[in-house]
């Protein structure tokens, strides 16, 4: 009983420092423990809230683990078909140019089935934010090889590790879209440590500002983990990500205003 009382005392609202963001709906997330999606959702929600953009925001969720994102964010949202979010966003932004429009897409969605939509939306310079969560695996369907699965990485459809001679090479979409004239701001970040969370949040805030100025497509890749799909604990997965994913997908800005030619 004493322990519970202590816990209740700690949990009293006035003792809590880190509070739920208003735009995050008070409901359990469907994500596995330790997954980066929750953090990515939260900082996006924080930026929308801090910028006062709730009445202006229209988001598009993908097919994949974040398919139910509309249950977690208190903004108007559309559920797109697999890979088609950038096309959906294109029409929304062109019909409602004053709104803040973002897509939130995983690697299978954005870099495999939706490659054409991604490249063409970026190349047209649609004034949207594309948030790309890259965890190198199809999480929702049970851990199959993704277009971004790194060489040697095991998955349920590359059980002996990705052999690039047979399965082809991983696709570095962020590198590709940075070369397109339509993109304005392209960066690759992560959300596995507080410092990285802050950097990613800053990147999202920049993208919001650039969209207000009609600068073109902003593309933020978040290299993230998938403890369930990778069959690791959350701590192991973050360590594995640092040691294996980051060397292949180095973090940092790919294109920033002021250096538009790559």
């Amino acid at each position: 009983m004493d322990e519970i009382n202590v816990l209740q005392d700690i949990n009293r609202p006035e003792n809590l420092v880190y509070k739920r963001t208003k735009l995050m709906i008070d409901t359990p997330l469907s994500y596995c423990p330790g997954c980066g999606h929750g953090t990515a959702h939260r900082i996006l929600a924080e930026v929308i809230e801090e910028e006062g953009l709730q009445p202006e925001t229209i988001g598009i969720c993908p097919v994949g683990c974040s398919v139910l994102m509309y249950n977690y964010l208190d903004v108007d949202m559309q559920e797109a078909a697999h890979g088609r979010a950038p096309a959906v966003a294109t029409a929304i932004k062109r019909l409602l140019p004053d709104k803040f429009v973002f897509t939130y897409q995983g690697d299978g969605d954005l870099a495999a089935i939706g490659t054409a939509e991604t490249i063409h939306a970026c190349n047209r310079g649609e004034n949207i934010l594309i948030l790309f969560i890259n965890n190198g695996i199809y999480g929702m369907t049970g851990g199959q090889m993704a277009p971004t699965t790194i060489p040697g990485m095991k998955s349920s459809t590359s059980p002996y590790g990705r052999d690039v001679r047979i399965m082809g090479n991983p696709l570095k979409m962020t590198d590709i879209v940075a070369t397109l004239p339509g993109t304005y701001y392209v960066t690759r970040q992560s959300v596995h440590k507080p410092a990285n969370v802050r950097k990613t949040k800053r990147a999202i805030r920049k993208a919001v500002q650039y969209q207000k100025l009609n600068k073109g497509t902003c593309f933020i890749e978040i290299v993230s983990n998938c403890p369930s799909g990778w069959k690791m604990t959350p701590v192991q997965s973050n360590k594995w990500m640092e040691e294996n994913m980051f060397p292949f997908y180095p973090l940092g800005d790919f294109k920033t205003p002021g250096e538009q030619s790559v």
Partner: protein, 349 residues
């Protein structure tokens, strides 16, 4: 003007908010006409050439979900590519217009006119239990008239509408009376995703329901909607059916041919009439059943291997003989071929 141009001009005049398309013969004039007309400078209508038919239909999804009057057009192979998006639009109960200027198939087929997409348009096309409202124009005038009608029906029922035309009507030039320019609508439907103000709950546009009972409930809601459409929106036209002993059932280009066939048949003493379904979904089952009481036989005339004939047979419930007549591969059936077919298959003359 051309049928395809009539569609484009009618879209501008109907106050459409957006058109998203991809070139394919025989309907590219729709996109060309819109690009040349630059409605984005006058009415503010968005016109965009997408990177694929798939992207175009998903742009329609996004626009429709904002409560806007949006449309796309294509021809058979392109419409096949759009089927995933059409299913999502039907599943999310969004209003939109899809124009199919049909060419012969299967596969890449031909670029000549055909009516071989009837099943795809009327029976589903994409995955899941859904229906489009399908309108079949038989003239350039109807190409123009059905655009506004389609948007009205689409918004009334929150359901995608298809204009099922063909390469003949798309390419044919006729005189057409155009409606006056309508203002683009400023009303925002209460379900539209336009950004959440503090005065309402957030709007979500989705076709996903992981709860089987929820999904079944939604399917039942769709059935109720389709039943209402079947009850209220059946449209057809009759030609010399009053004393008819034989009936031609044909839509679109085939219906035009059959008007001449009726004349030829009557000159030869055959009491033949024509029923032209204007809506293919909902199909005029009841009227065809009523007529079947006075008939000795029905010929389903369609430029396909026989698709609409299945609905005609369903309509008559075995009361009279129903046979198919029609050329394929992009060939338009000739009026005398129809009468020859009627004689050899039904009248025995």
């Amino acid at each position: 003007m051309k049928g395809n141009e009539a569609i484009a001009e009618a879209a501008i005049r109907a106050g459409a908010d957006g058109y998203f398309g991809y070139p394919i013969t025989p309907q590219s004039e729709i996109l060309e006409y819109l690009m040349e007309s630059k409605p984005y400078e006058t009415t503010g209508m968005v016109v965009l050439q997408a990177e694929s038919e798939i992207a175009a239909i998903n742009m329609v999804y996004g626009g429709a979900a904002c409560g806007k009057k949006v449309m796309t057009s294509s021809s058979s192979p392109g419409i096949s590519l759009k089927q995933e998006g059409i299913s999502y639009i039907a599943g999310a109960e969004l209003p939109c217009l899809v124009v199919n200027v049909v060419r012969g198939g299967p596969g890449l087929g031909t670029i000549q006119p055909a009516q071989s997409d009837y099943f795809q348009a009327v029976k589903g096309g994409g995955h899941g239990d859904y229906h489009l409202i399908v309108l079949a124009p038989a003239s350039v005038q109807e190409m123009a008239d059905f655009v506004g009608l389609s948007f009205d029906l689409a918004f009334k029922y929150r359901n995608p509408v298809m204009i099922l035309s063909d390469g003949a009507i798309g390419q044919m030039m006729e005189k057409v009376y155009l409606s006056p320019q309508k203002e683009r609508s400023k009303t925002v439907p209460e379900w539209a995703t336009t950004g959440k103000p503090s005065t309402r709950e957030r709007n979500i546009i989705t076709s996903l329901d992981l709860d089987p009972y929820g999904q079944e409930l939604f399917n039942k809601k769709l059935i109720a909607k389709y039943n209402e459409i079947k009850e209220k929106e059946v449209r057809y036209e009759e030609f010399q059916t009053k004393d008819a002993e034989y009936l031609l059932v044909a839509y679109g280009t085939s219906a035009r041919v059959c008007q001449k066939s009726v004349q030829l048949g009557r000159e030869q003493g055959i009491k033949v009439g024509l029923l032209r379904p204007i809506t293919l979904f909902p199909f005029p089952y009841e009227r065809i059943y009523e007529l079947s009481g006075q008939l000795k036989g029905i010929l389903s005339v369609e430029m396909s291997t026989g698709q609409m004939i299945e609905d005609v047979m369903l309509a008559v419930k075995g009361r009279v003989t129903v046979r198919h007549c029609g050329r394929m591969g992009g060939i338009i059936t000739a009026p005398d071929e129809v009468i020859d077919s009627l004689k050899s298959q039904i009248t025995g003359g």
